[in-house]
């Protein structure tokens, strides 16, 4: 699923490791999320949305 995670992360100057730490997942998982190779579970999607203070659908594009 296409998403704006790389942009949101870059805006805050975070590395993938920083984001992984904040989301309590591995860096590999953040990498897979950003590349659209892995779709997060609903709890993780909510966690991401809360962290970036956005709604899930503005971060993840379900049409891709």
């Amino acid at each position: 699923m296409k998403n704006s995670l790389p942009q949101l992360r870059a805006e805050r100057g975070w590395s993938q490791g920083d984001l992984a730490e904040r989301l309590e997942v591995s860096r590999q998982t953040v990498n897979a999320l950003e590349r659209g190779k892995y779709d997060p579970s609903l709890p993780l999607a909510f966690k991401i949305a809360k962290l970036f203070d956005r709604s899930i659908e503005t971060i993840f594009d379900a049409n891709n």
Binding site: E24, S26, T29, A32, L44
Partner: protein
């Protein structure tokens, strides 16, 4: 999901320890099997002794299984859990038809390599490793 940063390193260390424990456990189990077979042929082990060696040699694998369960439930995040579980699913899906094929060919009298218990133990372990590697590649 429950890991990152230092806990990610901890998970990696736990994974390495688990792999080491599993390899050693498998070696102990295979050694036990060898001991039982030699004992049966040479006659230096009673039936009870052989049974005792059989049980004792399997205990390290039980420890490895408990460690694996803890790693899976506690130390891996959702994607890594998925990769491991897909690896196991792959192993099961491939192992069952392969085993059925082997048994059928053997029953039909077709020459197939003789599989000893150590081979039977290694087969699923190898398939899980292949399955995890394939799943890992899919998410990279």
């Amino acid at each position: 999901m429950s890991q990152s940063g230092s806990s990610q390193t901890e998970a990696r260390v736990a994974g390495s320890a688990l792999y080491g424990t599993y390899v050693v456990s498998l070696a102990v189990s295979m050694f036990g099997n060898l001991l039982i077979r030699i004992g049966a042929e040479a006659g230096f082990l009673s039936p009870w002794g052989m049974a005792l060696v059989g049980v004792a040699a399997s205990i390290p694998l039980v420890v490895a299984a408990v460690m694996f369960w803890r790693l899976l439930r506690r130390d891996l995040d959702e994607m890594l859990q998925r990769i491991v579980l897909e690896g196991f699913a792959f192993a099961l899906i491939v192992y069952i038809p392969l085993t059925a094929l082997y048994v059928n060919l053997r029953t039909a009298g077709v020459w197939v390599p003789r599989l000893d218990p150590p081979d039977l133990l290694m087969g699923p372990a190898l398939l899980v490793a292949i399955g995890v590697a394939l799943a890992h590649r899919r998410y990279q």
